[in-house]
């Protein structure tokens, strides 16, 4: 063969003990590839390797065999013919004798035995031969850990894949396995050996089979591992968890009932261990074994089992008061892990034991005594804590018994229920009449709390037994003893529970009673209707009582919340199991009450509670929510009218709350449940109706809050609608807008012919812009903001122009600006299809922005220049005569720019250029006409500064994410990485401007803009530019430090610098500027106005100390000096950081500090 020399080379490389593991793996791979591609046959390989496989040098031989085995395990998916499989398995079986070259033989057997049937498997005969050879030759426990693991894997594989082949090995096999696993200590091997025992039990399930003789031996081998306990600290490379191991052992224990006589005594003995984990494990194992061994194996031990469960739960309970005990109303015990497992065991025993176990519990003298002793304690507060703990334990025991099977439930009811009823003063013979003055009789002080508690626990258990869906066959239950008994008492029980809620004693001591009263009522009311645990009248009275708590007991927080929760439970139960009769009860009593609550003006209940109740009840079902929404609508509508007509302050506050509930809870709920979009649509239309109908607004100054709330709700509503509904809304809104005054004056200024002088005058008559118009404009803006991109906007051009006008007008400039931004973000690029002139495309919009006569409506001279150019001078902002509209225009441009950049439109460049020119234009040299009054000049300078500042802040608007518009919720189109792109285009421009300009005011504005752009860019983009950026950022910082108002900006820039410092790639850039960075950081380390800035600066200095020595060594003394000051900082955090920093810098040179 041509590549035979190469093959030999690979084999040599593998066999050679001096080559590295990587080389060996590579050579195995190379040969395996040859085999897979049929360039080499297996026979040829074996022939080639003959010398290695048979040599007397045991090292080379073992390597050779291992190579063959490794190759086979790589060929799992290649088909091999029967003869070669046969001969290979024969070879490996034989080699099991060769203890010097064992590993290869085991790996070979394993990989052959693991082959899937379609690629050629080993025959049963051969498997049996392997097993025999294994049992004869392998001394597993004398091997190393890895080899032991392989041996166990081999045995596991044999038992798992070829059980039939080895079954008739019988005693030999079991004996061999016992020998192999005896004394194993490695966790991974143990996992395998437990599994082997489990499979062995599966192999010989017969009680008279060979396993019976070995059960005791296996018990002795396995028993010593229980309970699993790691003495050594867990290494990271040991991937076996204690829990997994424990579970594997449990499966092995429970694998066959043959083990029962040995293991159960062991487990019972371990229950008395003082180690809590051992107790937990024992309970766990016992409950699992009970389910596996079957009841008959456990019968002998029933007495012991019960006494140990009783011991763990009742005699020495380990439940602890949970932290929310106060809140839960006094009985909030938390079961310890032991108790939980004990209850699981209890349940398992009750389930398996067919009644013998349950009678053991019910006849238990201690429990009986305890229950009959409950009468001593009249009041909840007089019960000592240990008795409460026992009460809790008994309650759990009873409820576990009751909720396991129907028979056990019957028995529990028969033995305890009459007694409990007796304690509560109830008897089936003479049920309490409705007219009975229950409130007087059942003062909680006289009610037996223990009985009440047990009774409620029992009820809960029954409820659990019945299950929570209608599907369980209910007619089975209705004739059962417990059901009959419960039914007889249900009415009087309900009366008792109701009377508990009615008590008017001090809040705290009553929580326990209230808690169980409510719980009892909830359980009574949520039995499935066909079970008829309660009659309709009782059901109604339960609901009435709970509602009366909701409406009247608003000061008793605990009672209120628990009543609320149980009403929600009852409501959602109705939603799951529809029951027409009860639904109508619930609807008429609860939902209607809530409905009337919201819409009424009575103030006994605060609105926030009303709304909370309404929403929680509504959330239980769609029909209920619709009704609640109706109530909300009805409440909002008169309030809005009151606000519009009279400026009623109280109504303003109410309406704001109602609207907030709408936008924060109701609308998201409908959105989440995928409900109809009628609700948001109607809501939006109703608001517009309201505005349409009230011609005159009589609002004071407080309406801003209301307007904001209305706008938020409107945006949310519109955003949740589909395209068609949105079109309905916008048509309606547009109609109102067109008929309002605001549109009229807009047309008068910017109609088809630009009327310059008059138009401008009109703009300045801002006061004529009535409050109603302001509302209409703002709400219209919110509708536009939340539209979907596909929604058709009628009269787009007009709307666009309108917003441009209102933007400059000033009163509503922010919503208008946001609306413009949203429009340019979502308008279609080009109109395809019908060339309707009404349709409005992005290009037209952009044209309008750049050529709008509004911008240029005053100064004739610059106007002409503008008409010839389309670049930045076309946006003639400076031509507006006063600065205030200019500021508005800048804000508008910022939002428009944001809209454009988010969709990635190239025109954004022109907008940013305009902003830049605004920023760098000097007040005196601009095209600003000199004003006549000299007194105004100073003011004018100030205004100009404001303008520059707002132009710089526009970059913040462009870069930051906004909550109120242009986000996913309002369907903005967002290109990925738009921030990075903007950053990459802007930074060169800004930095070159920085270099050119020398006026300090302009420089400070540029710095501001840079800071805004940088601080909102993702760090990864910044890191690539770090080298150029750092000097700029340092300039920014030194410029900003002067003004106290800039501290937020400083902080965000500082965070960017620290981000660069921490990153590997950034450090190179930092090293170049180390000196100036350190100087700046030292200055910020004493920044007086903000603690986090000082802290971050010192942290940055710590990070600086990681830089190369040569760079930072000269700065050492400087930093140390600065840290002396920081050590005296008034804030502890900064001092702490300063200590770290000082240590870090001191240790870079000499060992100790310079004293």
């Amino acid at each position: 063969m041509a590549n035979s020399t190469q093959l030999v080379k690979h084999i040599e490389l593998y066999v050679n003990s001096s080559s590295t593991p990587a080389q060996q793996a590579a050579s195995v791979d190379a040969i395996a590839t040859l085999l897979k591609n049929d360039l080499l046959t297996l026979e040829a390989l074996v022939r080639e390797m003959e010398m290695y496989l048979t040599t007397t040098d045991s090292i080379i031989r073992s390597r050779g065999i291992l190579l063959l085995a490794e190759l086979l395990s790589q060929l799992t998916s290649k088909r091999l013919n029967e003869a070669s499989v046969e001969s290979l398995i024969g070879f490996f079986t034989e080699r099991l004798v060769d203890w010097k070259a064992l590993r290869g033989a085991i790996v070979g057997c394993l990989s052959l035995l693991r082959r899937k049937s379609h690629v050629g498997v080993v025959t049963d005969n051969k498997v049996k031969a392997v097993a025999q050879s294994y049992l004869q030759n392998l001394q597993v426990q004398s091997l190393g850990q890895h080899d032991r693991k392989l041996c166990f894997q081999l045995m596991e594989c044999i038992l798992d894949r070829y059980p039939a082949a080895v079954r008739d090995l019988g005693d030999n096999l079991i004996y061999g396995i016992c020998e192999a696993i005896d004394g194993e200590k490695d966790p991974q091997c143990l996992m395998l050996s437990f599994r082997i025992v489990e499979m062995l039990s599966g192999l010989f399930p017969d009680p008279s089979g060979p396993l019976t003789d070995f059960a005791e031996d296996l018990f002795e081998i396995l028993g010593c591992y229980f309970p699993i306990h790691f003495t050594h600290p867990i290494d990271e490379d040991v991937d076996v968890k204690r829990d997994e191991l424990s579970r594997a052992l449990m499966l092995a224990f429970a694998s066959t009932p043959l083990f029962a006589p040995f293991f159960i005594p062991l487990l019972l003995e371990k229950l008395s261990s003082s180690l809590p984990s051992a107790k937990v494990e024992s309970f766990k194992y016992l409950s699992y074994c009970t389910s596996k061994y079957g009841a008959d194996k456990m019968v002998k031990h029933i007495g012991t089992l019960w006494s140990s469960v009783k011991d763990a739960t009742y005699v020495s309970p380990q439940s602890s008061l949970s932290t929310e005990a106060e809140f839960m109303g006094g009985m909030g015990f938390q079961d310890s892990e032991i108790m939980k497992q004990a209850f699981v065991l209890l349940q398992e025993l009750v389930q398996q034991s067919n009644g013998s176990f349950i009678s053991l519990i019910l006849d238990d003298e201690d429990i009986k005594m305890f229950i009959s002793s409950l009468n001593q304690y009249e009041d909840f507060d007089s019960i000592p804590i240990d008795i409460k703990q026992r009460l809790h334990a008994v309650g759990r025991i009873i409820s576990v018994c009751a909720n396991t099977t129907i028979a056990s439930c019957n028995k529990v009811f028969e033995s305890f229920f009459p007694l409990l009823m007796n304690y509560l003063g109830l008897s089936a013979a003479k049920p309490i009449k409705d007219s009975y003055p229950a409130e007087d009789y059942y003062t909680p002080g006289r009610l037996n709390f223990g009985a009440l508690y047990l009774c409620v626990e029992l009820l809960t258990a029954c409820r659990y037994l019945v299950g929570f869906d209608e599907l369980t066959s209910i007619h089975d239950f209705s004739n059962q003893t417990w059901c009959v008994m419960l039914h007889n008492f249900s009415k009087s029980l309900a009366t008792v529970f109701i009377s508990l809620l009615g008590s008017n004693v001090a809040e705290n001591s009553q929580n326990a009673y209230v808690c169980y009263g409510v719980k009892g009522l909830q359980n009574l009311a949520t039995f499935p209707g066909s079970l008829l645990a309660v009659s309709k009248s009782t059901y109604d009275s339960i609901l009435l009582k709970l509602m009366s708590v909701i409406t009247s007991d608003i000061n008793k927080t605990f009672a209120w919340t628990s009543a609320m929760n149980s009403l929600v439970e009852i409501g959602s139960f109705l939603d799951n199991c529809p029951d027409s009769e009860r639904s109508s009860s619930f609807g008429s009593i609860v939902v209607e009450k809530i409905f009337s609550l919201i819409s009424s003006d009575e103030l006994t209940m605060p609105l926030s509670l009303k709304l909370q109740a309404a929403f929680e009840i509504g959330a239980t079902g769609k029909n209920f929510m619709l009704r609640v929404v109706q109530g909300l609508d009805e409440a909002i509508s008169p309030n809005l009218s009151a606000v519009y007509a009279h400026g009623n302050l109280k109504s303003v506050k109410l309406t704001v709350k109602l609207l907030e509930c709408y936008s924060n809870k109701v609308l998201p709920w409908f959105h989440k449940t995928g409900g109809s979009e009628e609700i948001p649509l109607n809501f939006a239309l109703n608001i517009w109706d309201k505005i349409e109908n009230s011609r005159f607004f009589n609002l004071g100054s407080l309406e801003n809050e209301l307007l904001d709330a209305t706008m938020t709700a409107m945006k949310q509503a519109v955003g949740n609608c589909s395209e068609e509904s949105q079109e309905t809304i916008i048509n309606k809104a547009l109609g109102i807008l067109l008929s309002s005054n605001c549109f009229r004056w807009m047309e008068s200024i910017s109609g088809n012919t630009p009327l310059k002088a008059e138009g401008l005058q009109q703009i300045h008559k801002l006061d004529s812009f009535a409050i109603r118009d302001e509302w209409i404009t703002s709400l219209f803006a919110s509708v536009v903001i939340a539209l979907r991109p596909q929604t058709y906007i009628p009269n787009g051009k007009l709307i666009f122009q309108f917003f441009i006008t209102t933007l400059l007008n000033g009163h509503v400039h922010v919503p208008s600006a946001q609306a413009l931004g949203s429009l340019v973000n979502k308008l279609p690029l080009k109109i395809t299809g019908t060339p309707l002139s009404k349709n409005f495309s992005l290009d037209e919009a952009v044209d309008m922005i750049f050529h709008s006569c509004i911008w240029t409506s005053c100064n004739g001279s610059t106007c002409e220049r503008g008409s010839s150019e389309i670049d930045l001078s076309s946006l003639r902002l400076c031509s507006l005569s006063t600065e205030s509209p200019k500021i508005h225009a800048v804000i508008g441009l910022a939002w428009i720019g944001k809209g454009l950049i988010m969709r990635g439109h190239e025109k954004v460049k022109d907008i940013t250029m305009t902003l830049l020119s605004c920023m760098i234009s000097d007040g005196n040299t601009g095209s600003l006409p000199k004003l006549q009054h000299p007194s105004n000049v100073c003011n004018d300078e100030d205004m100009h500064h404001q303008l520059m500042k707002s132009a710089a802040d526009a970059f913040h608007i462009i870069m930051s994410d906004s909550e109120s518009c242009l986000n996913r919720r309002y369907h903005a189109s967002i290109r990925p990485l738009y921030k990075q792109r903007f950053f990459n285009t802007m930074m060169p421009i800004l930095s070159s401007l920085m270099l050119k300009s020398d006026s300090p005011s302009i420089r400070s504005m540029l710095c501001r803009a840079i800071a805004h752009v940088v601080s909102d860019t993702p760090l990864t983009a910044i890191l690539s530019e770090a080298k150029k950026l750092i000097p700029l950022l340092l300039d920014c910082l030194s410029m900003m430090v002067k003004d106290i108002l800039n501290k937020e900006i400083i902080y965000s820039v500082l965070l960017i610098i620290s981000g660069i410092l921490v990153d590997k790639n950034g450090q190179e850039a930092v090293a170049e500027n180390a000196h100036s960075i350190v100087n700046q950081l030292i200055e910020l380390a004493t920044y007086p106005h903000m603690m986090v800035i000082r802290e971050t600066a010192v942290q940055c200095l710590v990070a600086m100390s990681e830089l190369p020595h040569t760079r930072i060594y000269p700065l050492r003394t400087q930093v140390l000096q600065a840290m002396l000051k920081a050590l005296d900082d008034p804030k502890w955090v900064v001092r702490q950081e300063a200590v770290r920093c000082r240590q870090a810098w001191a240790s870079i040179a000499t060992r100790s500090l310079h004293f």
Binding site: K1125, L1127, P1130, W1132, R1142, R1151, S1152, F1155
Partner: protein
């Protein structure tokens, strides 16, 4: 653990800088926090765990910028008393502003050569000389290592 709660020593202090003469607000100084986790030279425990220093052992007078630490060696003949004292001093010098004068003493009657140790610890020259000794500095740094973690 005798005390796990944070020890705050409440002190009012004036800025030392005469030119500013700002009356600073009362603030909390946590000398104990700085020295509690210094490791004992001979054991893997901290000084606090070994009760070498306790919260009563620290007196701070911020007006006069003065700190006094009184430590209790575990046994009377503890040969490490001077090293512990040196560690305390080095740590406090590193952590406190330089205006503080640090005074370190062995608790009266707890060490055989109390006077000698006290004298050695508060002698500037001898402390400086000790810190020139690389072996000693290594030892001190090892003791202080956990407290910068």
């Amino acid at each position: 653990m005798n005390f796990t709660r944070f020890l705050f020593l409440t002190l009012s202090c004036h800025s030392v800088s005469n030119s500013l003469r700002i009356h600073r607000k009362v603030y909390f100084l946590t000398v104990l926090h700085h020295i509690r986790d210094i490791k004992d030279p001979e054991h893997p425990y901290s000084l606090e765990e070994l009760k070498v220093i306790t919260e009563d052992a620290i007196e701070v007078d911020d007006n006069k910028s003065h700190v006094r630490v009184t430590f209790t060696p575990t046994v009377e003949h503890c040969s490490m008393a001077t090293v512990i004292g040196l560690c305390l001093r080095v740590k406090l010098i590193r952590c406190l502003p330089p205006r503080y004068k640090v005074d370190i003493r062995v608790a009266p009657g707890t060490h055989a050569t109390e006077a000698a140790v006290n004298k050695q610890l508060n002698d500037k020259e001898r402390v400086a000389a000790a810190l020139e000794n690389p072996n000693l500095v290594d030892m001190v740094d090892e003791c202080l290592a956990p407290s910068y973690a």
